[in-house]
């Protein structure tokens, strides 16, 4: 039961560890891409 938790409506819900990993990877990728885009737009255009 360690991977479960009680949700807002009192129902036992599964912990979405995979979802959190996806959020982490997505935010990291966004940060890298935005940083590169800023460098290109500011210094190379």
């Amino acid at each position: 039961m360690a991977s479960n938790y009680i949700g807002d409506n009192g129902v036992i819900e599964k912990k979405d560890i995979f979802g959190k990993v996806v959020i982490g990877i997505s935010l990291f990728s966004i940060a890298i891409l935005v940083m590169l885009a800023t460098i290109v737009i500011l210094y190379e255009m």
Partner: protein, 242 residues
Amino acid sequence: MESFKRRIYEIVEVSRKDDSASTAYDLMILTAIVVGLIPLTMKGDSIHTKLIDFITAFIFLIDYSIRFFTSDYKMGVKSYKAYLAYVFTPMALIDFLSIIPVLSFLLPGSNIVSLSRLFRVFRILKLVRYSKTMTIIENVLKRVKKQLFAVLLLTLIYIMASAMFIFQLEPDLFQTFFDALYWATISITTIGYGDISPVTTVGRFVTMISALVGVAVIALPSGIITAAYMDEIKKKKGKFEL
């Protein structure tokens, strides 16, 4: 395993409001689409644009693989046929075209590879997936595809006929049949660059008719699409009122 696959499918599909992982994934794809287009607005390559190319190509390759892996959920059929059918859906084809530039990293230096990089332009079409208005336009085009095809066929027949006609009338002016086809297309669309223009009276008469037919031909698809679009919007409004 099945529930894990289902969760992956939920994440890669356009997000529900309460699914933050799916929203983050959509945001990453949208950022990759927009940032991936920046190198196309520049002459030449730098280390940063190459890095942008590499990261976006990698993201799209992973995205395509995941979408293919979960296509049985998308198509609603639990068999290998779902995977085959998915590959030929319009969005999957756009996804595939947008990952072709990955070749430039796998096979550096060949001519086909430099051409394949042009396929980055197709990535802009991936935005269609995230726009609700675009789905209305998609429905409209599906509904009126027969009428549009009829207009297209009519136009092609007219272009071919007038090109053959003018090619025989003015053999000195048109060196190849392709020149005549080019002239017919430019005339019927009322663009009229004027780089090739007929000199005989009959040739000019054909041009006048082409210009007049062109006005009707250009107006027809616009009318068909607008009427269907208005219908679709009325339907949507009706649904909300019910």
